[in-house]
Symmetry: C2
Subunit: 293 residues, 2 copies
C-alpha cells in the first residue's frame, strides 16, 4: 500500500474520494485546488497539507489522484509552463478521474512516461454519494501493469473496477455513457413536461414510465427531482453539456451524424446560456415544463 | 362472463389477443380485418366466423375488441358511411386498444353512447409476446362503470390493468410512454453506433450501459438486436413515427417545444422514407451505425 496520496481538484467528487481514502486508512498527504481556500479547509479536515503549487503535490505524494473540470484544466495541471505535476515526478503514479477527451489521456500518459512516472485513467460513472462511500463505478484505461499497481487504491474507491483498454479507451466509453444518459435525461424532461402541460398526475406518470418501455435509470435518479424542481447539483448541466460535446467531437471525427446527441447538447447549452449551468442535470426540466424558465 | 367476443384488426397484437381469450375459455365469435384472407385464416384457427362487414361483427358479438392502425382506421371502423361497428350496436361494449389520438377516443365514446353502446380505451404498453400470454400492461380510459363491466376480459389479457381516467386520458399517457421510449431508443442507437465507429466492443458497452446512468428498458429489449441487425418487427418504425407524432401534436396544442421528441420523429420518418418503416423500431440503428443504411 503506498504511503502517501495527493489530490488535485477538490470539487464534489475529488473531496469525497479523499475523505473515503482517509477513512480506509490511507495517508492523504497533500491536497490542491485552484481555489486555495477549499484546499485549506479540506487539508485541515484530513490532516493533509494544502499545497500552493502542483509541484508540491508531486513532491509530497506517491500517488496523485486528479479530478479536474475539463480538457483545459487537465492540460494545465500536467503541462502548465510555470508549474505542473510532472516536475520531478519520477516514480509517481497519476490516476486521472475527470471526464475529458480521450486524446488528453494519451497525451498525459506519454508525458508521464517521459518523466519516469505512470498514468492511468479512472473514469467514473457515479456520483457524489458513491464517491464518499467508496462505491464508484470506475472504468480504467492505460497499461495493465499500471492498473495492477493501482488496484489496491481503486478498490477502496469503487465497488466496480472495470479495465477497458489502453489510455483513452475508458474516456471513450465514459463519453458514450454520459451522451446516452444526457439524452435519456432530456427525454424524461420532455415526457414529464408534456404530462404536466396535459394536467396528468406526475406521480402516476412516473409509475407508468417505470413499468413500461419508457423506463430508464435517469427516471429513478432524476424523475422526482424534475417534478419537485429540486435541482441541487450532483452532476451539473454544464458538465452534461461538456460531456455531450466530447461525444459529438468523437462522432464528428468518424463523420457520424447523431441528431439526438446534438439536440441534447443544444438543450444543456441553453441552460448554461440562461445561467442555469450549475443546476443539476435534472434542471433541464426547467426548459420543458410549461410555466417554468 | 360475456358469451361472444369479436375482434377487429388482426395484426400482430389483435390476433394474439384473440388467441389468448380463446385459450382462456372465451368464445371468439367473429373476426374482421381489411385483409379478408387474414380474417379467414384466424377464423379457421379459432373456430370463429370471418366477418365480411363491420356490422356483421357487431351483430355476432357482445364485446368487440378493436386494434387498428391509426386515427383514420379508428374513424373508418366507427364512422364509415357504408359500413361501421355502430350499426345496431345497442348494448355492445367496444374496447379500443390501438394507439390513437386522445380526441378519437372521445369521439368514439360519444358516438357509442348515442347508439346505446359503451366504449372503453385499453391502451397497451407491451408487445406481441405479452399479447399472446395475457400479460399486457393495459391503461384504461373511460367511465369507471364500463371499466368494471369489462374487467373480467381485461384481466385475462393483462397482468397489469390500470385505470387512468376519462376517455382520452389513457391515450395521452400512452403517447407519453411511447414518445419517451422512442427517444430512448434513438439515443441507444446513437450510443451503440458511435461505439461501433470507435471500434469498441459492443457487448462490453451494453454491459457498461446497463450498470450506469445510460441504462434503460430499451437497452434490454433492443440493444442486442441493434448490434446484430435483427430487426424482426415487434413494434414497427412507422408506428414509432406515428406515436411520436401524436405526442408532438399534443405538445403543439400546449405550445410546448420538445426538440428531442421532434428529432426522434424525424429519424423514424427517415426510416419510413428509406423504405425501412416495417422494420422493428430497433432498426433505427441502421441510421446511426457506420457502414449501414
Amino acid at each position: 500500500m503506498p504511503s502517501k496520496i495527493g489530490f488535485v481538484g477538490l470539487g464534489r467528487m475529488g473531496a469525497n474520494m479523499a475523505r473515503r481514502l482517509k477513512d480506509c486508512g490511507f495517508t492523504v498527504s497533500a491536497v490542491y485546488d485552484i481555489n486555495h481556500d477549499i484546499a485549506q479547509a479540506l487539508a485541515l479536515e484530513l490532516g493533509a497539507s494544502a499545497s500552493r503549487t502542483l509541484a508540491e503535490v508531486t513532491a509530497a505524494a506517491d500517488v496523485v489522484i486528479t479530478v479536474v473540470t475539463d480538457d483545459a484544466a487537465m492540460r494545465s495541471i500536467f503541462f502548465g509552463e510555470t508549474d505542473n505535476l510532472l516536475v520531478d515526478s519520477e516514480g509517481r503514479l497519476f490516476i486521472n478521474c475527470a471526464t475529458v477527451s480521450p486524446t488528453v489521456h494519451l497525451e498525459v500518459e506519454t508525458a508521464a512516461e517521459e518523466a519516469g512516472a505512470q498514468a492511468l485513467e479512472g473514469c467514473m460513472a457515479s456520483s457524489i454519494t458513491q464517491a464518499r462511500e467508496g462505491s464508484l463505478y470506475l472504468m480504467i484505461g492505460g497499461k495493465e501493469a499500471v492498473f495492477t499497481m493501482a488496484r489496491p487504491i481503486l478498490e477502496n474507491l469503487a465497488s466496480n473496477v472495470r479495465y477497458i483498454g489502453n489510455a483513452g479507451e475508458a474516456a471513450k466509453v465514459k463519453a458514450l455513457v454520459n451522451m446516452v444518459m444526457n439524452i435519456n435525461t432530456a427525454a424524461l424532461a420532455e415526457g414529464l413536461g408534456l404530462a404536466s402541460a396535459l394536467s396528468l398526475d406526475l406521480g402516476m406518470i412516473r409509475e407508468v414510465f417505470a413499468q413500461t418501455g419508457a423506463h430508464s435509470r435517469v427516471l429513478m435518479t432524476d424523475g422526482e427531482d424534475m417534478q419537485n424542481r429540486d435541482h441541487a447539483c450532483f452532476f451539473s448541466a454544464s458538465h452534461a453539456a461538456k460531456d455531450s460535446g466530447i461525444a459529438l467531437q468523437l462522432a464528428e471525427s468518424k463523420s457520424l451524424n447523431l441528431p439526438l446527441a446534438a439536440a441534447t447538447k443544444a438543450q444543456f447549452d441553453r441552460m448554461v446560456a440562461a445561467g442555469l449551468g450549475e443546476l443539476d442535470k435534472s434542471g433541464i426540466a426547467e426548459l420543458t415544463f410549461p410555466g417554468r424558465g
